[in-house]
Symmetry: none
Subunit: 414 residues, 2 copies
C-alpha cells in the first residue's frame, strides 16, 4: 500500500495557538484513496524546518501533502521550500495570475500587488486551481514522492483536495487498499454501542471496528484492508450490515451526515415541513437545518424568541405563564412549539428554552436545564433534558441536537 506524509506549517500551530484540523481530514481522505498516512508533521513558518521535513518526507513516502504557507505574506514559505528542495527556480504561472486577478475583479476590487507571489510555482510544478480562494496549490514530483501543496484555510484545502488531489491518487491506485466507512448513531451511549458491538470490536480483527463520541453522536468506524477495492468494499458492506442490525434505528446516517441531514431526508420523503421557536439556542437549530442544501423544501422558518417580550408578542406565550413557571419551563416550551407550528403553517413545530450558562437566570434554575417542545397535528408536548453544568457551547449544541433528535425519533422510532 502506498504511504504518505502530511506536513502542516504555521507558527500558530507549532506554538499551540491554533489546532491543526487539516491533517486528520487529509489522512482520512488518503485512506479512502488507498494511501496510508505514515507520519504527520507540524512545523512553524520557518524555511529551514520546512526544507528539512520536506526532504525527509520526499525520501520516505510515495505521497507528500503539505498544508499552509501559500498565502500572500512574507511568512508564507511553502513555495520557496519546494523550490529549494527540488532545485527548481520559482516561475510565475500566468494562468494562476489571471485567476487571482479574476477572483478580485469578481468582487469588484483590484488585486493588491502583494498577491502576485501566490502565482509563483517551482518550474517543474503544476498549479492546482483554487475554486474558492486566491492561493492556487502546487503538484510536483519530489524525490520518490508526488508532492501536493495545499492552502491552510480548511475549506479551501478541502475543495482543492477533492478537485485536484483525490482524482490523481485514485488514478494511480495499486496494491492492497484500506477502505473506511463511518456510521453515525444517535440515542445510545458509547458504552451501549460498545456492548452491542463487542465481538466486532475485538482487536486484530479485519475489518477493524471502533467508536468515537462527539456531542451525543456516536460514530462507528469500520476499516477494511484487502487486496482489491472490491474485496474491501465487500468486507465493509458485511460489517456495516452487522453494525446496523445490532444498533437498529439508532444509525441515522453515514460519513459526514448530520442529524439535520437525516431529518431533512425524512421530511422530504414525507412531503412535510418544520418550523422552530428558539430561546437558549438563539438560532442554532435553524442554522443546523439550513446547513443542509435543499432544506428550503422542508424548513419554513423560525422565531428566535430570546427576550421574553418576543415570546409574548410573537408566540403568544401568556405573560402570567412566564411569571408562574419561568421562561425556562415545560409549558413555555410547549406553547412555543405549538404557536410556531400553527403560525408558520408547518407540519411540525420544534422549540427549545433553557439555561445555557455560564450563569443561571433570575430563576436560579441550574445551567444545562433545557425544555424542548414538539408540536404535531395531534398536539404539543415538552421534554426535559439535563445537560449538567457544562460549557455554554456544549449546552447549546447538545440542546439543538436533542431537538433535531426528538423530531427524527418521532418520524422514525428506534
Amino acid at each position: 500500500m502506498r504511504t504518505a506524509w502530511i506536513i502542516a506549517s504555521g507558527t500558530e500551530l507549532i506554538l499551540g495557538q491554533s489546532r491543526d484540523t487539516n491533517s486528520a481530514w487529509i489522512a482520512a481522505q488518503l485512506a479512502a484513496a488507498g494511501v496510508r498516512c505514515a507520519r504527520m508533521c507540524v512545523v512553524g513558518d520557518d524555511l529551514a524546518a520546512l526544507r528539512d521535513v520536506l526532504s525527509t518526507a520526499a525520501a520516505a513516502a510515495d505521497v507528500v501533502v503539505l498544508t499552509g504557507g501559500l498565502g500572500p505574506t512574507d511568512d508564507d514559505l511553502t513555495r520557496q521550500a519546494l523550490a529549494d528542495v527540488s532545485g527548481d527556480a520559482l516561475v510565475c504561472d500566468e494562468a494562476s495570475l489571471a485567476q487571482i486577478r479574476a477572483f478580485f475583479e469578481a468582487r469588484g476590487r483590484q488585486m493588491p500587488e502583494q498577491n502576485v507571489v501566490q502565482a509563483l510555482r517551482p518550474s517543474r510544478g503544476e498549479a492546482l486551481p483554487n475554486p474558492v480562494g486566491t492561493a492556487p496549490g502546487i503538484v510536483m514530483p519530489l524525490g520518490r514522492a508526488t508532492c501536493f501543496a495545499l492552502p491552510g484555510v480548511p475549506i479551501e484545502m478541502r475543495e482543492m483536495f477533492a478537485a485536484g488531489v483525490a482524482p490523481r491518487l485514485r488514478g494511480a491506485q495499486e496494491g492492497p487498499v484500506l477502505l473506511s466507512r463511518r456510521l453515525n448513531s444517535y440515542g445510545l451511549t458509547e458504552a451501549d454501542v460498545g456492548q452491542r458491538l463487542h465481538d466486532l470490536m475485538r482487536r486484530g480483527r479485519n475489518p477493524e471496528v471502533g467508536t468515537t463520541a462527539e456531542m451525543s453522536i456516536i460514530g462507528v468506524r469500520i476499516n477494511a484492508l484487502a487486496e482489491t477495492v472490491e474485496a474491501a468494499e465487500r468486507m465493509l458492506n458485511e460489517a456495516e450490515a452487522a453494525v446496523r442490525q445490532r444498533l437498529g434505528g439508532a444509525v441515522f446516517g453515514t460519513g459526514d451526515d448530520t442529524l439535520a441531514h437525516a431529518l431533512c431526508r425524512r421530511l422530504w420523503e414525507r412531503g412535510e415541513t418544520v418550523a422552530v421557536a428558539e430561546s437558549c439556542t438563539g438560532g442554532l437549530i435553524g442554522k443546523l437545518i439550513t446547513d443542509v442544501p435543499g432544506s428550503s423544501r422542508c424548513f419554513v422558518g423560525g422565531v428566535v424568541a430570546y427576550a421574553n417580550s418576543v415570546k409574548e408578542e410573537w408566540l403568544d406565550v401568556p405573560r402570567e405563564l412566564i411569571q408562574r413557571h419561568g421562561a425556562v419551563s415545560e409549558p413555555v416550551a410547549e406553547i412555543m412549539s405549538r404557536q410556531v407550528r400553527e403560525r408558520m403553517n408547518a407540519t411540525y413545530g420544534l422549540s427549545a428554552t433553557g439555561i445555557a450558562g455560564p450563569q443561571s437566570d433570575s430563576s436560579g434554575k441550574p445551567v444545562g436545564l433545557v425544555y424542548l417542545g414538539l408540536a404535531t397535528a395531534d398536539g404539543a408536548a415538552a421534554r426535559t433534558i439535563r445537560l449538567g453544568d457544562s460549557p455554554r457551547e456544549m449546552v447549546r449544541t447538545r440542546a439543538a441536537q436533542a431537538a433535531l433528535g426528538l423530531l427524527l425519533r418521532r418520524l422514525e422510532p428506534l
Copy 2:
C-alpha cells in the same frame, strides 16, 4: 531558548479517525514554561516509526514530549521504543507496580495480569506518577534531550504534565521566554494587512509578527522572545500599539474574541439592542450573537424568514416586491431589517437574504450574492456583497460575519 519536539502516537490518529488534541495543548504549556516547540510528529502504533522519530527528536531538541502508547495492550509501544533507542533494558518499577495494584484495589477489583507491563521503564528512566489513571509516565535523558513519556488520554496527560513535567521545566528555566498575543481584525484582506505590516513581518524580526486568515477575520499574532517576562511584555505592548496604529479600527479584539463579542461589547456600552431577520443564514447570525455569554442584554431576538410566506406574513414584505425584485434583493433586505427592528423594538435591525447555494434559486441569481440590511432610527439601507461561487458553508458564514461587521462598523467606523 530551549526547543522541544512533541510526538503523538496512535493508529487512530495517523488514519485521521481521531484528532490529536494533545500536541497543541502541550505546545502552549511548553511556551509558558519557556520552551519553544519546534516540531510536532504523529506516528501510528508502529515500533520502527516510533524509534525513528524518537532518535531524530532526541538529537534535535532539548525537550521531547511523547504522548500515547503507555497502555497495557500489545499496541502500546512507547516503553519499548525508549528502551531500544537508549539501549537500556526494561526493568520493573516496583513503586509503580504497587500504585497500579492500589488503583484497582481502590475500585474493588484485582489488577489484570496484563497491566504489569505498565510498570516497566528503561533502566535509566524514572517513573512519573499518574494521579488519575493506571499508566505511569517516564522521564529520562535521551541524546541531548530530556524525554517525557505521557499517556494519550487527554485528562491523564494534562494532570501528569502539570504535576510532573511543568515543574521540572520551570525549575530548569533560564534564559529567554517567549510570550504571545493575538489581535483580530475585520474589514481588510490578508494582503492589505500584510502590506500595512510589511516591515513588522520581516523574517527574523523579534517580536515576530504573522497573520492568519479565517473566513473574513484576519488574525495578527505577535511572539516576543526576551530574557525576562517583563521585557517580553514590553515588546508585546509596543508591537501591539504599532499594529493597532497601522490597522486602525479594523482591530476589533484580542485572543479568542469574535466579531460578535466585539459587537456585544459596543452595544452594552451604548445600552442598545439588536434584532435580526435572516433568510439565507437561517439562524446563524442569531447563533453567533448568542454564543456570547450575556448577549441577552443586547440581543432581543429574530425571525428566520426562510420561506417567502414568512417574509410576507411576519415581516410585512409585500408580495409584489418579491415578485418584482425577487426574495434575494436590496429592497427585501431593507424592509426585513426595518420591520424586525420596529416590531421587536430594538435599536438596530439586521437582515440577510442571499443565494447560499449549491444551486441558485428560480431567479437564476448567482450563488454567493447576498444582500444585507441595516436599520437604525435614521432609516434602513441595504448593502450588496458578492462571495463568489463558494461552498454553502462559506457563503453563509461570511454573510453572517459581514452582517455583524456592518453593524460594528456603523458603531465604530474604520
